[in-house]
Amino acid sequence: MNTIAKRTTQCILKWLAKAHIAKTKPYIIVIAGTTRRAWIKEAVERALLERNTLVRSSKKHFNAELGLPLSILDLPSGEGNARKWIGVLWQAFKKVADFRKKTISRERIEHLVLELAIDTPRDMDYLLSIVKPNMVVMTTVTMVYAEQFETLDNVAHEFEALAAALPWNGILVLNADDDRIRELSHAYKGKTVTYGFAEDAQFRAVDARRTETGEEFRFEVKRKELESYRKKINRFGKHHIYAELVREIVLDNFKAQPKDFFNRMAKGLLDRG
């Protein structure tokens, strides 16, 4: 696709995605950071499914100027093919213009888990012009995009805009082990939850060790009293421990709604999960 065609497609998709959000009003959970997004997204999705909610998450790499609106609209990419892109745009129009009660009720109760990826300064502003999050989970600020941003502080500054975009009743989930991410708590006055190995993390992993079948750690959560028990996951790597902590945070913040669950089951809507 040439630049003009790409910009036009990008612009149309942006407005259609905004219209779709306005119509369906999903609860939007954004995963951002330079690494580990995929596993955090998977953990959030898993937790929401455990809570019997309808959830849809973005496909891998559908997280930037073209991918994000496609994720919101639940449409595939046209790849490098102009005809395919016309088909995608037509599908998007049809979706946005579909005001049938059944469609709206199906999509209105949805939790949408989106990855936002930035690779140049001010990318976040553009992405936030498409979507406003209700909950943000931040992972890390690492050197992955250092060339484009000159310093890691500049990368963190992009994420600051994301935290500041949360509504008053939003939730900001921060990795307590990453200093720049921790600092983002200053950018948001609402509910903030921290996770990690740091001593002051609210959802904390302690005494992690590797076994033959995966990671094992003591899970601690600071409520009125300290809750603590050992957990085992069948994956290897610290990033899976972080993902597990985020899963616990989601479970803690989203209560199961059995009534809705049975209603949806009766309507045959649950298979969408």
Binding site: V144, E147, F236, G237, K238
Partner: protein, 392 residues
């Protein structure tokens, strides 16, 4: 007289490269020798590389382990195949599979533990890589009569206290045979008993045919109990038609990888960064291209076998179920180097002499059906004419 470079004197240039070199000097040669896919790299991969280049992302070294985003992608891909490895500590992006293999061999070969068991026939460069790493290749013959199967009695005898590891490709190059779960677990049992490593080269895992079609290849790296014993190697060269990009990866338990990465760092610092970006796009977006390639290879395999059936007086062969090679036996038995040279000079067709793949490969040739259908047909026309002429 003092021998210059005594160490490298023992190492041979791969016979595959030798044949290619000779073939390049003869005009109009059709080469069925080197295992190069006839396809171009998928568009999506090329575009990703151009994008990374234009964004100025490729001029600098990456981390020695490789770009974190690529290793994350690799971890996800491995998890889809039931292999759970930590991208931060257990995966290293390498310069194709041969660098991964050589770095692994240098890591595991130590002092008296310097023998590496190879199946015969197996990929020609394995023995040379073992020698480069300061080791000694020990061949165990595969049983041709039983479909190039592993002779476990012979294998058990060859694994001694001096064995550092067992290195094999699955599917095997040059025979195209596939080792199933039972065979692999028996090999692992022997390795566990003798405390030696297994290097499993799975570069052709996506090209399975016949009874294996539609199945995914079992890997010992899927067995959690073998994490510390198994070093698995994969390259994007064959699966994604990216031989020139020189990109692959190796994964194993952290305690093994932390040693391999030191060798990798000393040898290459990091894999080419532009190729790492290309690899990321390949792993994420080019799976349908793999299927397209596999279907085409399956068709070419049938065409190749039909030609060999026409020449049943001169060749007998085992049907390959994987990779894109067939390894026919020469009838009557004859010197494979001489035959390959003769075929090259008189018919203008390059094939690899079987002896290049170990002693048990003698009197065979390796034919690649990675080339185009047109090339395969033209090459066999020439081979048929060669035999007709020889009969006169």
């Amino acid at each position: 007289m003092k021998v210059l470079f005594p160490r490298t004197q023992k190492i041979n240039l791969s016979p595959i490269k030798q044949i290619e070199l000779e073939a390049s000097q003869i005009p109009d040669v059709i080469s069925l020798a080197q295992g190069i896919p006839s396809f171009d790299t998928p568009e999506v991969v090329k575009k990703a590389a151009i994008k990374a280049l234009n964004k100025g992302l490729v001029a600098k070294y990456s981390l020695t382990y490789g770009l974190p985003e690529l290793r994350e992608t690799i971890e996800e891909k491995l998890a889809e195949e039931g292999m759970y490895y930590d991208f931060e500590n257990e995966i290293v992006v390498t310069v194709g599979s041969i660098e991964a293999i050589t770095a692994s061999l240098i890591t595991i070969i130590d002092g008296k533990k310097n023998e590496v068991v190879l199946f015969s026939p197996s990929y020609a460069s394995y023995a040379e890589a073992v020698k480069v790493a300061g080791g000694k290749p020990i061949f165990v013959n595969l049983d041709e009569k039983n479909g190039w199967s592993v002779d476990f009695e012979a294998l058990a005898k060859k694994i001694t206290a001096n064995t550092a590891g067992i290195l094999f490709a699955n599917p095997n190059n040059p025979t195209g045979t596939v080792m199933g779960k039972e065979t692999l677990l028996r090999i692992a049992e022997l390795a566990e008993k003798k405390k030696c490593y297994i290097i499993s080269d799975e570069v052709y895992k996506d090209f399975l045919y016949g009874e294996y079609e539609g199945e995914s290849l079992f890997s010992l790296a899927q067995v959690p109990a073998l994490r510390k014993r198994v070093i698995r190697v994969f390259s994007l060269s064959k699966a994604y038609a990216m031989t020139g990009w020189r990109i692959g990866f190796v994964h194993s338990d952290e305690e093994v990888i932390k040693e391999i990465v030191k060798v990798h760092d000393a040898m290459v610092t990091c894999a080419p960064v532009i190729s790492q970006y290309a690899a990321m796009a390949a792993l994420d977006f080019a799976d349908k291209d793999i299927e397209r390639f596999r279907e085409e290879y399956a068709r070419r395999r049938d065409i190749t076998m039909a030609h060999l059936d026409d020449l049943s007086e001169f060749f007998s062969y085992e049907k390959p179920n994987g990779a894109y090679f067939v390894f026919p036996k020469l009838l009557p038995k004859r010197d494979s180097w001489q035959f390959a040279h003769d075929l090259l000079e008189k018919a203008g067709v390059a094939v690899v002499p079987g002896v290049a793949f170990g002693p048990n490969g003698e009197s065979h040739i390796r034919i690649s059906f990675g080339r185009t259908e047109k090339d395969i047909d033209r090459a066999f026309e020439r081979i048929k004419a060669y035999f007709r002429k020889e009969a006169k």
